[in-house]
């Protein structure tokens, strides 16, 4: 048996899906979070409820069997406007679900019923889950559920997916409807309204809207006037204000990062890094291995390579947990949706819209869902530009790199993380302007951005804790798989030479030979050592590898990696350290994010352009930081100053050539259009 969950964006489908399946899919308090369908079985509790309901209607003769629940992307209509709406349309019309649970946000009943009327026409058994009843109760509003159910001739259950209220009844009714409501005709009232509109598609839509309005007026009782100013409205005058909103956003993010890095997250990370993985675990392992007479080379591989590298990354878990806990609270409260509104007007100036900020906010966790979230953008060019710019947002994997360099070169400073995000913002704006010049034809429209702002609410601690744990578990899994494998490889490559014998000096190793090839290219960035080049290369597999690789390469040092007087301080100056951070942030992301970009951009030509652009931006930003920063801070030109001038000139030339080619094409198109118009 297959249950489809369908409804408008941000009606609570994924929250309901998680509640009845036990999954922990990403939930956001804004529209467009789910862009692909997700499937799972009912969890044990609801399976029992479903079995009981099935036994009731079949007299115990049959069992319900396996029950799959499919969470579909939000849609306003069966006629798709975006690619994720098409997924919903294709599923409900082509894959014959046994029953559709139509989730309706009852605080937006009229808008939601438009889609409901279309679903009712499909002839598939339908149960309406009237979600967020707790919100309308708080306002003193009411829905006449039995009247509405009679009017639509379908089962309606009041639920609150957040608290789990009414979900047992909903599942039981869905099972009963799947058997008892087959071949049911649409309600008479709706049938008449649509029939009266004639066959024209617009006419039918108008009839549906009129019908939704009529029955909302009849069965929804609002205590307060629709024009009444609510707390959310008052708060939005400040929070979503074009100037104050930006200042508030900056202050909030500063607070979040200060709490994560310098507060409890930073303290716990410091303890794990300095005590657990720097002393306690290596000492215990060394004692144990020595007592059993383990070969020194195997001992070094396990202690310095595997444990040292993985530990260097795992140490940042508390910091990441606190950060994602705070971000989940902000998101659940409805605040992040306001950020999208604030940014909309600024993004319009660079040829994007507020729709582009949503993938970027999602991308603070991981670039992959951020890149996938670009599907909600209808305009092709705007979607591609957003896909290319989204990985510039520092994701969770880049946080250990930032935290390590902040701890070594700027200890105690609260400005490092906010400044990195500010720099990312500036790079996104500059990159957007550049891409607009290169890719966008003149006269192309920017997507209109209409976002229904969710009401502010007290964020759920349970939800935030779940998100935090999910991130922590993913981080541990990543450390135990991809990072462990890379660490083992890096250790081998830095311990052995090409003759497969251990080397006395690391600079004779395989890794030094490979890193040495890339190192001269990094001279204008002030990063011309094989160790730096190697860590950058391993970072393309997973960004956490940058930290793990440095930990392995510098394991022989007596000082811990994280100390201000440690081995990193000998490799970098504060200026080149910041340039190294910038290069890792803005150069192409990890392989998985590149794969996601490839899928979304659609074609090798586009992914090649995107990677070239990101590499150019990463290189140029790091080069500018090193060259200008060294001149200002140390009063002398940095190494490779001449090479950097030549490279900068070449990059500028390349951009001008790309813009000229685009302008030539645009003029060609304009002339063709003029000729066609003249004819």
């Amino acid at each position: 048996m297959k249950i489809a969950l369908a409804g408008n964006p941000n009606s609570g489908k994924t929250t309901l899906f998680n509640a009845i399946t036990g999954r922990t899919e990403y939930v956001g308090n804004w529209p467009g979070v789910t862009v692909e369908k997700k499937e799972a079985d009912l969890n044990r509790v609801f399976r029992r409820i479903a079995a009981k309901a099935f036994a009731e209607i079949s007299g115990g003769a049959h069992s319900s069997g396996r029950i799959r629940v499919v969470d579909l992307p939000g849609a306003y209509s069966i006629s798709p406007f975006t690619s994720e709406e098409a997924i919903t349309r294709d599923f409900v019309t082509g894959e014959n679900p046994d029953v559709i649970i139509n989730i309706i946000d009852c605080s937006s009943l009229e808008r939601s019923l438009f889609f409901t009327t279309q679903l009712l026409e499909l002839g598939i058994p339908l149960v309406i889950a009237l979600n967020k009843v707790d919100i309308i109760r708080r306002h003193g509003d009411k829905v006449d559920v039995s009247g509405l159910a009679d009017a639509l001739d379908c089962r309606i259950i009041e639920v609150s997916a957040n608290d789990g209220e009414g979900l047992d009844k909903l599942v039981a009714e869905a099972v009963k409807a799947s058997v008892q409501d087959r071949e049911k005709l649409p309600a008479a009232g709706f049938d008449t309204a649509v029939a009266g509109a004639g066959g024209d598609e617009d006419g039918l839509d108008r009839a549906r809207q009129a019908y939704a309005k009529t029955i909302t007026g009849k069965y929804f009782f609002r205590k307060r006037s629709a024009n009444e100013i609510t707390f959310s409205d008052k708060a939005d005058r400040v929070v979503a204000h074009p100037v104050f909103g930006l200042i508030i956003f900056a202050l909030i993010m500063w607070g979040v990062y200060a709490l994560s890095i310098n507060g409890i997250g930073g303290w716990a990370s410091g303890y794990i890094n300095d005590v657990l993985f720097a002393e306690a675990i290596p000492d215990a392992l060394n004692s144990f291995f020595e007592s059993i007479g383990l070969s020194p080379i195997l001992q070094m591989l396990i202690v310095d390579g595997a444990v040292g590298g993985v530990g260097a990354v795992l140490g940042f878990i508390p910091l990441i947990m606190v950060l994602f806990f705070c971000l989940a609270l902000l998101e659940d409260s409805g605040y992040m949706a306001r950020v999208a509104v604030v940014m909309d007007r600024y993004f319009k100036k660079i040829g994007l819209s507020g729709k582009s900020i949503i993938p970027m906010i999602v991308g603070t966790g991981c670039s992959i869902p951020g890149v996938m979230a670009t599907r909600t953008i209808e305009d092709d060019t705007e979607r591609r530009i957003t896909t290319i710019l989204t990985p510039f947002v520092p994701c969770g994997a880049k946080l250990p790199v930032i935290a390590l360099f902040a701890a070594v070169f700027f200890p105690g400073a609260t400005w490092v993380f906010p400044s990195i995000y500010l720099l990312a913002g500036l790079v996104i704006i500059a990159g957007g302007l550049l891409l607009k010049k290169i890719f966008r034809y003149e006269g192309e429209n920017i997507s209109s951005f209409i976002l229904e702002l969710p009401e502010y609410k007290l964020p759920s601690l349970k939800h935030a804790l779940r998100q935090m744990l999910k991130q922590a578990i993913a981080f541990i899994k990543k450390a135990a798989t991809i990072i462990l494998v890379m660490n083992t490889l890096v250790w081998f490559m830095q311990t052995y030479g090409w003759n497969l014998r251990p080397v006395e000096d690391q600079s004779m190793s395989i890794l030094a030979a490979i890193g040495g090839v890339a190192a001269p290219l990094l001279l204008p960035l002030g990063l011309a050592s094989w160790q730096m080049a190697s860590s950058i290369v391993t970072g393309f597999i997973a960004k956490e590898n940058v930290v793990a690789t440095l930990a392995i390469l510098l394991a022989s040092s007596e000082d811990a990696l994280y100390t201000a007087t440690g081995p990193l301080a000998e490799m970098f100056t504060p200026v080149t350290a910041f340039a190294f951070l910038a290069f890792n942030l803005f150069a192409p992301p990890c392989f998985a994010a590149v794969g996601a970009m490839n899928s979304e951009l659609g074609g090798r030509r586009w992914i090649f352009k995107a990677l070239l652009f990101q590499l150019g931006v990463g290189y140029a930003v790091a080069m500018l930081i090193t060259q200008i920063g060294t001149l200002i801070v140390y009063g002398r030109p940095a190494d490779g100053a001449l090479a950097s001038i030549i490279i900068a000139a070449a990059l500028v030339g390349l951009v001008i050539a790309a813009i000229r080619i685009r302008n030539g094409k645009t003029r060609g198109i304009s002339n063709t259009m003029r000729e066609e118009n003249a004819l």
Binding site: K37, K38, P369, K477, L484, F591
Partner: protein, 48 residues
């Protein structure tokens, strides 16, 4: 000698399993762990 063999088998067994999971994830363009919004298709192919 025995210690080297046992610890070696355990360690390289773990690394081989990690490599297997990593390659499966790489082939489906996802990260091991899949906490980052991978699609069902990706999850099925990388087995996490």
């Amino acid at each position: 000698m025995m210690a080297n063999i046992i610890i070696g088998i355990v360690f390289f067994g773990i690394v081989a399993f990690a490599a297997y999971k990593t390659i499966k994830s790489m082939r489906s363009n996802s990260c091991p762990g899949c906490a980052c919004g991978c699609s069902d298709e990706q999850r099925r192919s990388c087995g996490c």
